[in-house]
Subunit: 405 residues, 2 copies
């Protein structure tokens, strides 16, 4: 095992609950899509008892040997009685077949899991579907399963270990990032800020489109009396105390699509630097107001992470898009980015659009159509020939000011 690339830890969380954590620094694009230079961790949990063990989720496909090695630190494989599949995404269910073949446990999951597992992994297993609210009593411990669809797969469930008030949440409350700490409350200062950013980015990237389901599922859990002291997600750090309260509050806010008041994000695509001159006008305007504006530019020398763009766009109140025109169409990178914004971030945000062209205008209208048909509030479009930003200064400022109305 390469300690650098294939590191895992086993941590004891309570007298009979363990965390098996794999630290992945070799996956460069989460879901093949999101840039994650910060890496990601896969959390599997093992509950041990006199009656045997329950494994909650596993690790990413391909890590079978490492997973079994880690698991054997805790239990004899023959003592694994159940494996709970919180959902079928292969970063959690990836070792299912290996584990079934080695330990022959009963697989518990949403009714949809059986068919998906058989397709994904050609696995023959003892499967027992769990209903919403179904409970099992295992060595005197009561564990309840809740259906929490679209967080972020339709067959997602969560497990609640009642006596300890522990909620295992799968992707919800997860985070990017590789940390040596187990719990979020062990971090402070910059590390904690970094964690919070990774958690927000992760939420936007991965759960994004399903944000409204966060509210539905959290309200449902509360109505069923689920008030966890510990929240154990399948990625990132574990939550208790202040970070748990904070993240619960954040999830509720994100789930309602609430923006950070006054947060403005400017995203621009520039081919030859003309767009950057317009961006400079906007930067100076905000600087004169002594207000922050976050600017992300895609240029001939800079290609930022789209995972960051979506993370920042999610809770922005206002978005300013400044784009070049390309082949009498919207600049392709802006089209890709705008398409991801409309899919991943809450509708209803105010959007100001500026498009620049060499020969003829068209990109502004296309971008306006893309955003407004998806429910974003386009406050206006200013479109002009590259190099004429000074002539359009008043219109540009007027457009930016109309974001505040």
């Amino acid at each position: 095992m390469d300690d650098n690339m294939m590191e895992y830890n086993v941590s004891k969380l309570t007298s009979n609950l363990y965390l098996l954590r794999f630290k992945d620094t070799s996956t460069k694009y989460f879901e093949g899509l999101w840039e994650i230079p910060e890496g990601i961790m896969y959390n599997s949990y093992v509950y041990t008892s006199n009656e045997g063990a329950i494994v909650f989720d596993t690790w990413k496909m391909g890590l079978g040997n490492e997973f079994l090695e880690a698991l054997r630190n805790i239990v004899d494989l023959r003592d694994v009685r159940y494996i709970v599949v919180h959902h079928m995404e292969p970063d959690h269910s990836g070792i299912l077949k290996t584990l079934v073949e080695k330990a022959d446990p009963i697989v518990l999951g949403h009714p949809l899991v059986k068919n998906m597992a058989e397709s994904f992994y050609s696995v023959s297993m003892k499967f027992r579907p769990v209903k919403d609210g179904e409970e099992i009593v295992f060595d005197d411990e009561k564990i309840i399963f809740y259906h929490t669809p679209w967080l972020h797969w339709p067959e997602t469930i969560m497990s609640y270990i009642t006596s300890w008030k522990i909620l295992l949440t799968c992707d919800a409350f997860g985070s990017y990032g590789v940390f040596k700490e187990v719990w979020a409350d062990e971090l402070s200062g910059e590390d904690y800020e970094r964690y919070l950013w990774y958690a927000k980015k992760y939420f936007a990237n991965v759960i994004g489109i399903h944000y409204e389901w966060v509210v539905k599922n959290l309200e449902k859990l509360v109505s069923r009396g689920v008030t966890p002291n510990l929240v154990l997600p399948s990625h990132g750090l574990l939550l208790r105390g202040d970070p748990l309260d904070y993240m619960y509050k954040k999830y509720k806010s994100w789930g309602h699509g609430e923006p950070e008041q006054g947060k403005t994000l400017l995203i621009y695509t520039s081919m030859y630097g003309f767009v950057e001159r317009t961006v400079k006008i906007i930067r100076e305007y905000f600087s004169g107001l002594n207000q922050d504006i976050d600017m992300i530019g895609f240029t001939d020398s800079n290609r930022p992470s789209i995972s960051d763009v979506i993370g920042k766009a999610f809770d922005a109140e206002n978005i300013i898009l400044v784009s070049a025109t390309y082949d009498a169409d919207l600049y392709p990178l802006m089209k890709h980015i705008a398409s991801l914004i409309t899919r991943k971030t809450p509708r209803g945000k105010k959007v100001a659009i500026i498009a620049q062209y060499g020969w003829g205008g068209k990109a502004g209208k296309i971008l306006e159509e893309m955003m407004s048909t998806q429910g974003f509030k386009v406050v206006g479009v200013v479109e002009f020939k590259a190099g004429e930003e000074e002539r359009y200064r008043d219109k540009i400022i007027g457009l930016i000011e109309s974001l505040k109305k």
Copy 2:
């Protein structure tokens, strides 16, 4: 001047024609869009005479000092009588204002240039529009200007120096890549192959959408008796002899949208490795036939250059797209790639589509619609649940075989 990043050369091409070449290894994305680890060169040409000098195009915006330094090696700036703007894209017209202010030449260009130049660079200049076929006689040398629209900007013109039979072609016949050689015929073996690939990729990336205009413009030039011995593009190596004949033939073929017979390109996007299993079936099938297939995969660890994808797609006869599904939609990276393929490469290619999903199928239909509405011939769509590639093996092979019909 940093020799590594800001290297230029001055080369004498004929008794009174010079090449001023800037080697750009710091631009990472040409047009802000295309990955160019191979770099790019900007070619400006200077014709000297007893009556003064003519400068044909310049370099990229921001390189004013270097350009003037190079130009002063050849002429006194006060002797620059004309500057010819072949088109207004800022990688060629970028030093226009600087040169006008230092040398006060007459600017020659398509009638559209005046307004664009004034917008782009706020330049006051002595401008003289040239008509299609208009000629100037300068120190006994006749130079004819031809309008060659959409190669690749609408106001593109070419200059023909008649006694030497030299055609200055702006972007047409250009190439990516930084070379120490001046002429393409100075390369051999792998270097020449590499150059040809850079030229094709450049053509597809930059001229792509306007490929049909290549034929119109080349036929027009032939009909006007333009049969150059030397072709001098504004990027890359210069052409004479065999490489000139070869590239002329290629441009005609590309301009007609002709594919390489039997060339199949497979592009896939995979989130967790399931798509790669299907790709393996296709690879084995081609291997059994002893036929080549080019495969480009976007995965959680690999993000190929989209500039390469488009370069390879341009002259492929058949394209196979294999995609994951994402949030009940087409996987976003595949959408971005497919959108660029439909814009940049000749319609009429045969396309086979395979889509895989976890929960429900939809991506295949979306991709089919994207390609077929843009004039690509979708021979079929096979869509199935991830992991079921063996059950669908016959359908997959059948789909691939239908590309040959």
